[in-house]
Symmetry: C2
Subunit: 121 residues, 2 copies
């Protein structure tokens, strides 16, 4: 019975909010092309393991983003000498990233107004 892979602090994990994954992926690719596995690792590392992108979310998201024209992919070889599909932002993808960032900021601000009503209420 192989022990279920422990994945660091199982309790601290946060589920992603629906709709944020696309933005995170686009942002991660802003610094250059990466393959799917690498994108997941980058997100996990930058958040100290708090955000874990499961493959069942990641790959469908990448396909979806590519189909919409925000990403384009090319097959290559990874650092570990494995076949890997590298994704990079298209110009439209950069625009989309800006839109999603704006939306995210607005949303966080709006929710903040409900959660911490400065005055009124």
């Amino acid at each position: 019975m192989s022990p279920r892979t422990p994945r660091t602090d199982p309790d601290r994990r946060l589920e992603l909010l629906q709709g944020t994954l696309d933005m995170l992926i686009l942002r991660t690719l802003l610094s250059g092309a990466r393959h799917g596995h690498g994108i997941g690792q980058a997100i996990r590392r930058r958040t100290d393991e708090l955000l874990q992108v499961e493959t069942g979310s990641l790959y469908p998201a990448l396909h979806r983003l590519e189909k919409r024209g925000w990403l384009k992919s090319t097959w290559g070889v990874s650092e570990a000498n494995q076949r890997a599909k590298y994704y990079e932002l298209t110009p439209a993808g950069r625009e989309q990233l800006v839109r999603e960032q704006e939306r995210w900021t607005e949303l966080v601000t709006a929710i903040g107004r409900v959660m911490n009503p400065a005055h009124g209420e």
Copy 2:
């Protein structure tokens, strides 16, 4: 043909992120009991119409929260002299609100780290 109710700036509206509505409702009830319609209005007003809670989201959410024991309801009469179901937080609901606020803060922070990597990357 009655014109579809315009609802102020149709384009500026933001869809809620899945999972945030419960928190918004709990927070809104922190200042006292309110009926469903009133909760929706309060959220809309505090966000300058940016967040609109549709009835098809609101009522199921209220039922869900009540079933989980975060809220309890009593029938009453509204300011407009209408029959209305008033919801208020239970003690468990207050605890839940705290948990959701913590989760929200963590999540926003984690996403912030991906979006604006201070150093590293």
